[in-house]
Symmetry: C2
Subunit: 224 residues, 2 copies
DNA sequence: TCAAAATACGAGCGATCGCTCGTAAAAGCA
DNA sequence: TGCTTTTACGAGCGATCGCTCGTATTTTGA
């Protein structure tokens, strides 16, 4: 090592991909800090909305100086990208556990209801998820983020549909999935704004609409 | 006037309301300027999005100084409120012409298709409408605006439903209308982003979904 | 033990944006 | 014609926000 000093060149390529300062070998402490910052971002986005979220507010919520935040994220957008990454990872687990068991045997209505309650739970656990999922025609930045989240969910849902209708055209199933996701995106705010009993009523409506829509193509095989 | 310098104290009370538009003894020229400013706001919102729209940009687009803008609108939000007001007025015409004729005789599918093409046209004529209608969970301000627009459309649509199903429960029809509006809000971005032929395909899907949902309660009376 | 790297701080820079203010020209009214 | 009101201007104030920079502390690795 004494020869020339510079010998870290071999390493720097490995890490640079995701986020934060380039070429940096991150310590355990740093990785924890990044999670803290993302947790804080989650809270602030859920409370203030996407556009009103400031980096200083995120840093303060995380109990960290603005400078420290930029130690790990190059700019505000990268923080949001970090949130999205966490969501898609979590959503991956969510769907796999929810689809591994007997979804193929469910009626379309049971399937829809099961997924809807799942989404509802997820939204409670991750308050900012809905904001990023819903997106907005008003904000190009947010829409970019939202459509990437929806695309990921679309892929999962397409798999489920193909599992239930093995002979079907994949492109067709993709379209059905996209329609369902868009519909839920549109209707879910109603669910959230409504009171407790009203909420159940709307979920019933949404279930009826989607089950009716999917039924002919994704309906359960007759249990005979 | 030279006597004491300070003698405008008697006037200042009258001044407070005049700034904005409250006690509006507005001249013809002023009313035209307001329309110009709203036109400019329409363009800028459609191009930049809701949050990225600045009052200075609106003024510049309208060919007016920032000061002049604030001669007519007390703040940014009032400009957006003005846009919404124009929309609800235009939407009033839109619905009344679209509902005055034989909507009661149409099948649910025809009705849905007719409304959808209408919305599509409207969106082309008023580019910023979609932005304000779609709203966003990410922006409390925008959501306020959007929900007021949706509420107005909801009232119109409820009327149509009641016209087609005179015996039905009004509250029930209101719920159906809200569901339809939310669904369209969710799915329409897909329509807009898609290419020409793809677009028709999605509209067919949306029509099928809504017609299937409404059919049992709003379907046409048997023509027999 | 010690230098390099990673982590941490926080004041504040530069840019933006909503909006004001002093001023002055056009329009209504006597 | 004069006086008031409305319309018009545009530089710039005050506040905010994303982000930087100089510096100090902790951890790593040899």
């Amino acid at each position: 090592m004494s020869e020339d000093g510079v010998q870290e060149g071999a390493q720097e390529g490995a890490r640079e991909g995701a986020q934060g300062r380039r070429g940096g070998r991150r310590q355990e402490r740093g990785r924890r800090r990044m999670e803290q910052i993302l947790d804080a971002a989650e809270e602030v986005v859920a409370e203030q909305g996407f556009e009103d979220t400031t980096t200083n507010a995120i840093a303060a919520r995380a109990g960290v100086s603005p400078g420290s935040l930029y130690q790990f994220f190059r700019n505000k957008e990268e923080v949001l990208d970090g949130l999205v990454e966490r969501y898609t990872a979590t959503s991956r687990e969510f769907w796999s556990t929810r689809l591994s068991d007997g979804t193929a045997r469910m009626s379309a209505e049971e399937l829809v209801r099961s997924v809807l309650t799942g989404v509802s739970e997820f939204k409670t656990r991750r308050p900012a998820f809905w904001v990023l999922f819903h997106g907005s025609a008003a904000s190009p930045r947010l829409e970019r983020v939202a459509s990437s989240i929806r695309a990921d969910i679309g892929r999962r849902l397409t798999e489920v549909f193909l599992l239930r209708a093995p002979g079907a055209d994949p492109a067709r199933m993709e379209l059905l999935a996209a329609m369902c996701i868009a519909t839920v995106q549109g209707v879910f705010p109603m669910v959230m704004e409504a009171g407790e009993e009203r909420r159940a009523e709307i979920v019933v409506e949404l279930t009826r609409m989607l089950a009716g829509y999917l039924g002919p193509e994704i309906g359960a095989e007759p249990p005979a």
